[in-house]
Amino acid sequence: MKWRVIRLETRSAYSNMAIDNALIEGQKSGASEPTIRFYKWLPSAVSIGCFQSMNDEVDIERCNSLGVSYVRRITGGGAVYHDNKGEITYSVIAPEGLFPKGIIESYKVICGWVIDGLENLNIKAEFAPINDIIVNGKKISGNAQTRRDGAILQHGTILYDTDIRTMFSVLRVSAEKISDKMIRSAEERVTRVKDHANATQEELYDALLKGFTNGKDYEFGAYTEKELKRAEELEESVYSKNAWNFSR
């Protein structure tokens, strides 16, 4: 079984989520190969979990003033700030049968690839169920998974040098709480690659690439015309629409 790897690319929040959606649909029809993709978000964006309220989780005014985008994911989980300059996101989209049936076990497998990647930078990370990866007890990566029609989609973020102050100003925290105390408190819970390794972001990407592809038969590839067409449809009809993003 051969994996297709999509090299690190940059897209809008709507496009990134539409691509993931199109690829999980493509698994059912057989139109899409099992895929690992790495990507960034431009502009920086907040993605919220499928069951969260956009207005409760995200300071929309603040996002608009900073030019930060916002989108609802098809996966559950919490709100994530995707700093264009400070974070790398991955998605794994493949037939469900390639992974353990148990949810936690399957999180552990894919999170293990992230952990292997970080190990390449001499960062000792560990899986913290349900869906986090931690270093010295602090979260460095959040992950979210769904399954539909016999396929699995897991995507996750790896913090490189995310701007914590901006993160906690766009995620719903009242302005008066953006004090030094708040930032210190956030830093106690969150950590970044840059806090542990003197690596460039390109080196982080290379390390992750190795972690994800180690021992696998894979080749670098591109999306098919059909996948891109479906993603464009989903971007236009779902992910760019308030009806979806503000549905809760």
Partner: protein, 101 residues
């Protein structure tokens, strides 16, 4: 009347309920950072809960939630039917002695 309640499930995720009710539940939203798939099962669950008596016991609410999730072949991670039922009761303001959430 409107009600809301939010809890962090021990070793799990956050679940929040916002509802409008009188003698029965008129509308309800179940929110949080838990995982459920197919994701459409949550909407189905909310539909089923509309019209349910607002004095329904936590035990019966748990049963309704469990049955609806089963019928939809839903997999749920980070929250349980009894935790959702507990938060619904809290949101209605008729908190029972159980405090497992």
């Amino acid at each position: 009347m409107k009600g809301s309640a939010k809890v962090k499930v021990p070793n799990g995720k956050i679940v929040e309920v916002k509802l409008d009710f009188d003698e029965s539940i008129n509308s309800i939203q179940i929110l949080g950072d838990f995982f459920m798939y197919p994701e459409s099962a949550l909407k189905e669950l909310e539909s089923v809960l509309v019209g349910v008596s607002s004095s329904e016991s936590e035990k019966n609410l748990t049963w309704i939630i469990l049955e609806t999730l089963k019928r939809n072949n839903a997999t749920v991670i980070g929250v349980t039917p009894d935790a959702i039922a507990n938060v619904i009761r809290k949101a209605i303001g008729n908190e029972v002695e159980s405090n497992k959430t």
